[in-house]
Symmetry: C2
Subunit: 336 residues, 2 copies
């Protein structure tokens, strides 16, 4: 039952945070929808579809909550959160083309509706628009954080692509990918939220540390959820996707380190023949249950969760701190 717990705990905190930030999020939405493209209706249609699709909004929420944590009072956080959402949406659009997806968040993916070419170009538009927003904001420091972040995310995506179907992929390479594409992104959101609040270097470093570690833990657990070991529908997540795409994530890497020779051969055959059908996924899920992969993977996440929690320790108690703790409390409250 870990999985539903996992999902619910994270989801509860996120829903509460969304409620708490509802005015800010409304402003972000308004800004996004008003600043798409005057010239090109397609951009508005596609980006509107994606942005209104009810994604988690985790990244902009991180930025907004950190800004509030440090009592930020201005309006810069709105534009910057919108930029973050643009960048994330651009990444999803390109990912869907790269992964040849047909579904996202339980609806047809944008490439299934508008085609790959539109997704590529609208992704480019959103990324550029994000940089326009940041330029308007006028801080070179934030510009630097964001441009380094998008470079890192692209590097992570390229490494991930190169690892497709590579059953020899080592754990350290998985972590390199996760650090580049997820941890760096979360860290940047926290960094920006703290920067606009004009706090000390030490406080910036604290929340960056939180974001970085939360990012890794989040990705590990997200990759675990994708194997859906408890057979519960994960809302907002298309389970089995990594397997279908032959994406090498930690659960599979860890499983391969533990199975016997015959099982390893069987997994290799499944991947070699690229017959990623339901029965093959079930076979792998069965092995993962047999080898206790869920428990092992949670064990991998815990040090990151603990570091993220530790980085918040010296912060005064407040609602925002509680949310930040809540986002990562899913596993720390459990005994293994």
């Amino acid at each position: 039952m870990i999985k539903t717990r996992t999902y619910n705990s994270f989801s509860d905190s996120l829903l509460q945070a969304r409620d708490y930030l509802s005015k800010d999020l409304e402003e972000v939405n308004r800004l996004i929808l008003s600043k798409l493209s005057e010239k090109v209706p397609l951009v508005n249609g596609m980006a509107g579809y994606l942005i209104q699709a009810g994604g988690k909004r985790l990244r902009p929420i991180l930025l907004l909550i950190i800004a509030r944590l440090f009592s930020y009072k201005g309006m810069r956080h709105i534009k910057l959160a919108a930029a973050i959402e643009f960048i994330h949406t651009a990444t999803l659009l390109h990912d869907d083309v790269v992964d040849r997806s047909t579904q996202r968040r339980g609806r047809p993916s944008a490439n299934a509706i508008w085609g790959d070419s539109s997704c590529i170009l609208v992704g480019d538009f959103l990324l550029s628009r994000a940089f326009e927003f940041v330029t308007d904001d006028g801080s070179l420091e934030i510009m630097e954080v964001l441009s380094r972040m998008t470079t890192s995310v692209a590097e992570g995506e390229i490494m991930q692509l190169g690892a497709i179907g590579n059953l020899e992929l080592e754990e350290k390479h998985y972590f390199q990918i996760v650090e580049s594409k997820t941890a760096f992104f979360f860290e940047a959101c926290c960094h920006i939220g703290a920067t606009i609040a004009n706090v000390s270097e030490r406080e910036i470093e604290q929340v960056r540390e939180y974001g970085r570690n939360f990012g890794v833990a989040f990705q590990i657990l997200d990759d675990l959820l994708d194997y859906d070991l408890n057979q519960v529908d994960a809302i907002g997540k298309d389970a089995g996707r990594d397997f279908q795409e032959r994406c090498m994530t930690l659960p599979l890497i860890v499983l391969l380190e533990r199975v016997n020779q015959a099982e390893k051969e069987e997994i290799k055959n499944i991947f070699k023949n690229a017959t990623h059908e339901e029965e093959h996924l079930e076979y792998i899920q069965k092995l993962m249950r047999r080898y206790n992969i869920e428990r092992i993977i949670l064990g991998y996440a815990i040090p990151y969760i603990n570091r993220a929690l530790a980085s918040l320790e010296t912060l005064p108690a407040c609602q925002e701190k509680e949310f930040l703790q809540g986002f990562i409390s899913f596993t720390s409250s459990r005994k293994f």
Copy 2:
């Protein structure tokens, strides 16, 4: 024989400019190849392939020559020219995927070698890296020029995609596309070259005007060359590409305005059946020759060329000015 003249004149000026700027261009190349990716060898392989493929380098050359025109003495132009080349290369990578190309500049296109997914992600990487370069440079003004430019280029590309195969496309829409994707880009290169040289607003405006008009004229002539009406191989250009991609460019738009009903139906059939074979291209080329399309199209380019030349008038005579005039002298010296 206009075409060979056109090509030779432009090409001569460009070759001479490249020679004149050889030290700067070497620095740009060195910077590009040293600053690709430490983490991801694929990026270096792909981007190296593209960047060393011997493109025209027209955009970075514009930036460099404008900087020199205004006696710029520092080193910022190198990094900014590299950023421009990164952005252009990113655009080409994504274009090749969108257009399903197999060839570029007489060699297999990057997507034909590395696949679409790699091209999408490496394009994203290069775009992000370009913004990193500009952030390092540290000017918000240049950041603004570049982020507006990449947004505009993406808008132009999206509009162009939406116009594919639309035989009803009007001239004004063609010009909207060209202004967004080509003129804005050329203008930005000139804008940046002048900005780092710290010249007056009036001088910046002059060279922006040059870039904008040169950009439109360049695109018009490039689109004309694609129909290869003089049957001469255009070096550095894959002739017939626009026709194969059903891309609506000015020669075809203008032809459609002039043909008789039967010919129009024939063209519609060719496009409807999507049978873009050699004989169909030849049929369209034959019509274009019959209706004097080349001459008409050159007539469209002339006002832009004249405006570009006029914008340079008050500048003192110098080698750089001669190059800028040379880039656009291909048609102005002819009588029609």
